[in-house]
Symmetry: C2
Subunit: 96 residues, 2 copies
């Protein structure tokens, strides 16, 4: 698990990164650089979006594989990557 | 409406772009460079994802605004932008 901490630390140290969350496929955060309240809220909101994106992709092209999801807003960029067991969320300030 | 056609034409001419769809907020395609069957399928799949992303954002930060959603897969990149009345989907080969 030290490896996970190393990844989170390195990501969090990147310029503009505001928060990093790693959660399991049941939606339980296993690492987060955010306050608990935000962590729980973000995971609860992001997981259904991830599930829907994967489902959409499966119906569009079953032979294709999900890589990542990027939600760009006025203030932030939310990047969501996932494998079978975990998903990772990075929230960052958009590059100028 | 000629302006919309011009935008679609210019987007479709971009290297790697496989398809462009413009649909209204009721999920009716008003322009598409794809076959009807794909257009209807993609709009039906993408619209709920867009609605969910916007809802997620509203709950995360009501003062923030949605800009775009990018779904990256092994084979493609699906970019979804939207304003109040319309949303646009561009499907492209990811840059190498």
């Amino acid at each position: 698990m030290a490896e996970v901490d190393e990844i989170v630390k390195r990501l969090q140290a990147q310029k503009g990164v505001e928060g990093v969350i790693i959660a399991n496929s049941e939606g339980i955060a296993i690492r987060s650089t955010l306050e608990d309240q935000h962590t729980v809220q973000y995971v609860a909101l992001i997981q259904p979006l991830l599930v829907k994106a994967k489902k959409m992709l499966l119906e569009m092209d079953p032979s294709d594989d999900f890589t990542y999801l990027r939600v760009r807003t006025e203030k932030n960029e939310i990047i969501i990557t996932a494998d079978k067991e975990y998903f990772m969320v990075a929230i960052q300030k958009p590059a100028p």
